[in-house]
């Protein structure tokens, strides 16, 4: 009978020992409040991406509260900004402005100012928006990652002031920067703004092209409100270019708005249809 060599037994013992020594040590478990905050933030981000802005805002608010409870000021500020973003999407603009204004972390200043300008423009407080936009522009130099969004906000501010040429210029400049950042929603916003500006400038073809580009992206993102708006915009452009097509665009807008239960847009589409039939 063959008898195993003693060195083989020794090797069998040494190999697992070496493997155990080489393995990375098990990380210490995270404290429970931190884990809860992370889960809340993750859940809120998922809900935001799914379009459930109300739940997202609630979860971000709870995450911010939890993080404040264990003095993680930076993360709490980030959650507060995310909450403001969800509130903006919900249409709770004043609350969003308040929450964004509470953030004082230096590293989040650009993000906070972006949301503040956005809220102020929605609230039609042009002067305050311009003042914060100036601060934002100063903070966000040429190499700033958010430069595309800043330019889009500048375009929106110019649009609010009735400066159509500047609007078109800024929106066009923002487009490539936003594409680089893969900000599809913002790219669609820029296209829509450019379409509106081109329509006012009387360049119907360019306006239609821009509006269709916005619609294409919004369809991919499946945002009913924006799709309905895009169709309304296309209808407005068609009325200038080829009025026969306008009715079809308004009908599409009406169908989308009705399906999504968007009462205001339903009324707008119906009004536009009535106008085209006269």
């Amino acid at each position: 009978m063959h008898r195993a060599e003693p060195w083989r037994y020794a090797a069998l013992l040494v190999v697992p020992l070496l493997a155990a020594c080489g393995a990375s040590p098990k990380p210490l478990p995270e404290p429970r409040p931190r884990v809860q905050a992370q889960e809340l933030e993750s859940s809120a981000a998922r809900r935001y991406a799914q379009g459930d802005y109300s739940a997202a805002a609630r979860h971000f608010a709870e995450a911010a509260r939890l993080r404040s409870s264990f003095d993680d000021a930076a993360a709490a500020s980030r959650n507060r900004l995310q909450q403001a973003q969800a509130e903006l999407a919900l249409g709770q603009t004043q609350r969003a402005l308040d929450h964004a204004s509470q953030v004082t972390e230096a590293s989040l200043q650009v993000q906070a100012l972006l949301l503040q300008v956005q809220a102020l423009l929605t609230l039609e407080r042009g002067d305050a928006a311009q003042a914060r936009l100036a601060r934002l522009t100063a903070l966000c130099e040429a190499r700033c990652a958010e430069r595309g969004r800043v330019q889009l906000l500048q375009a929106r501010a110019a649009w609010a002031q009735g400066n159509v040429a500047q609007t078109a210029r800024q929106a066009e400049a923002a487009l490539p920067l936003l594409r680089e950042q893969s900000e599809e929603r913002e790219v669609a916003n820029a296209w829509r703004l450019l379409a509106a500006a081109r329509l006012v400038q009387g360049d119907g073809a360019a306006a239609l092209q821009a509006a269709q580009a916005a619609l294409f992206i919004d369809r991919q993102l499946a945002v009913p409100e924006k799709i309905a708006r895009d169709w309304l915009l296309i209808g407005d452009i068609q009325r200038r270019v080829a009025s026969s097509e306008a009715r079809m665009a308004y009908q599409r807008a009406l169908a989308v708005a009705q399906a999504a239960g968007l009462k205001e847009l339903v009324q707008l589409a119906e009004l536009s249809l009535k106008e085209t039939s006269q």
Partner: protein, 313 residues
Amino acid sequence: MSMLIEQDSEVALLHRGTRRFLLAGLLVTLLIIAAIFVRQGLLRQTAVLTFVTESAQDINKGQSVKIAGFKVGAVDTVTLRPDGQVEVELEIDADSMRFVTRDAVIELRKEGLVGSAVLEIMPGADRTRLAANGAKLAFTRADGLTAMANSLRDKILPILGDIKVITGTLADSRQGLPATLGQVREATASLNTLLKTGNQQLGDVGQAATRAVGKAEAGLVQLDKTLSTVNNRLPVLLDKAQGIVEHIEKITAEAESTVPPLLQDGRAVASDVREILTGAKTAWPIKNLVEAPASASLKADSDPRAEGSRAPR
């Protein structure tokens, strides 16, 4: 000779009797003089007090000086000084000086309503500091009849004025007593009418009350029946309720001892499950099936409701 001797003895007797009589008279005279001295106070010890006043009216030499109604001395001198003031000197018993304090006041007052004026020494509050012989005290005059009459007149005059006004008002035919009596007459007539109406209404109310009492009586009979029913059923219900309460108490008592440990166990189990799940999520191949945590950075959307770029309509 014997006759001469008898005459000499009689003369000697007469002389002796005369001497005795004269001595007794002298003794009596001296006693009378001493009594007069004592009566006049010439032998007693006195003290002098003075005061100054503007007028010597009602102040006379020999006028009585009293303390608490007892005569203790008299006015000795009343003199007019070069400055026009009157200085009065009183002589009082030295023994009475123990009642006269330094802050004592001498008051001129009448004994009764129309009696003679006397000076009354009114001791002050500080009984520890007595006035010395020759001390000058303060002086005051009590209100006399004239002052009292003036004061009375001042008080009566406004009252008389008021009475005049009141009597004038009462006599006024529009607002006075005649008018008031007329109003009282009218009010009495109205009251009579009111009482008549009230009587009538009370009669109506009485009838209504009688009807209501009749109904209430019927209701009470019904209530009595209901209460009898309740009375029969309530003990059974109470027994049942008592049983239920006891049962609940038993359950609660048991729960008190069993639930908290269960909850603690549950919490511990939940914690364990969470840890196991967290570990499992990171383990292959489960981690491939579990949804990855969402990115903390949200997709930017500066115009979430597409309102910012609405074409001017």
